[in-house]
Symmetry: C2
Subunit: 251 residues, 2 copies
């Protein structure tokens, strides 16, 4: 579904200039897209170092920033909004892509909406930053899972790991094709991730066949010796969809 791209519509720096990046449907011009973007909170790029980041997280961040100096890698900023101010504009935007399910959205409830991965106080939830290498079609996410993401005592909940895998493979797809929807996410859990540790999620666009993308991903320890999880995902690009998109299950 479209969630892979949508959770990152707020990563505006990443989306702008993308091939096939989000465009308003022909029948709902300008306003929806404008408000979607202009109401975002540009004051906080949550992928920059914070006091809550561990030493491992900072070291890795510095290493990747070093790799960015020659232009082979780029850091992907993450701008978020705290609440949906103009719900009607959002609904109009969504309606162009998902007409049948958009009707089911309760507009009243959206006033409290927050992006899932940004719903925690600093250091308690999802702390992460992504880097992208266009030549290699590779997205790397440095992820520090905070203490409020616990499953088994002392370890991250599998759902929290799945969330960040989804976010990373989604970003790989977005960088390659713009708007996408993830049809499948297949995760092999090898061993649990210790709470508050830092892991490296390495995602690679393996190939594309028509509108279908094939992305692989693994989750490893900072020193790369421990494999925590492997995953594959197969999003579909929506770049050839017209203003009246095909049903979700077919597109």
């Amino acid at each position: 579904m479209l969630r892979s791209c949508a959770a990152r519509l707020h990563a505006l720096g990443a989306l702008r200039g993308l091939p096939g990046a989000a465009r308003p449907p022909a029948r709902s011009p300008g306003p929806a897209r404008r408000s979607l973007f202009l109401e975002a909170d540009f004051h906080k790029d949550s992928s920059l170092p914070k006091p809550s980041w561990s030493k491992d997280m900072r070291l890795l961040f510095d290493q990747f920033m070093k790799k960015c100096e020659d232009g082979s890698w780029t850091r992907l900023p993450f701008y978020s909004y705290k609440a949906v101010q103009n719900v009607h504009d959002f609904i109009a935007f969504i309606h162009g892509s998902l007409p049948s399910t958009a009707k089911l959205v309760d507009k009243e409830q959206l006033s409290q909406a927050q992006i899932f991965t940004e719903s925690f106080k600093d250091g308690l939830g999802f702390e992460y930053v992504m880097f992208y290498n266009d030549a290699e079609k590779r997205t790397v996410c440095l992820f520090q899972g905070g203490p409020h993401l616990q499953g088994m005592p002392g370890f991250l909940h599998g759902g929290a790991v799945a969330t960040m895998i989804d976010a990373t493979v989604g970003m790989s797809a977005i960088k390659a094709e713009g708007l996408v929807m993830t049809a499948n996410l297949n995760i092999n859990f090898k061993r649990p991730v210790p709470l508050c540790s830092v892991v490296v999620i390495n995602s690679h666009l393996d190939k594309t066949e028509g509108r279908k993308l094939f992305i692989s991903c693994d989750v490893r320890s900072v020193d790369e010796t421990t494999l925590y999880s492997e995953a594959t995902s197969s999003p579909s690009s929506r770049r050839k969809c017209g203003p009246s998109p095909a049903p979700l299950t077919r597109c």
Copy 2:
């Protein structure tokens, strides 16, 4: 991995009396298990109706409570703890099952630990209740995804959906075999789930082969007409593991 059972070690009502339910390793008797259980917060069963539950959630809850009257279904209470008071006891408990990875747990950080699905204020995150039918080997989860679980504007993040699928198939496995670890989670996303709506996650133990369980699951709208997701999971029971468990990837 063990997370499927572990996140629900706190569902004590569900675990007690289970076939193969969690037992302390032979080399770490009594205390670890005792403190694990006794320090839980028994005052709050978070799967009971709350003011934040929608009308749909309450209606479905009442329907399933009605089904419980003849004993065919049972509600699975969920007791949580807010913080790990005695970290050493927890680590000892974990160490018996996961000796290699347990060493990596940062004991200091655990003082802030909270169960992922319980880390949100009432109504903002994961609101859910599970019911179990032993004869049918079926677990049903009624799930209302709050506004802080947003992915695409107006819809749940795929990771939030994956989290609840994981929790539900994990419970199916726990009810059948006690301690389990989920090796694989394969989700087909059909369409996005509207934020704050209620969905029914229906999980079924299809078969067991040795220690391996095969569980299928789907996520549907309240009226069952809309299929949001389908998933399969293949946890492995640990019931035949001795006090020196085999490596995670083999067990």
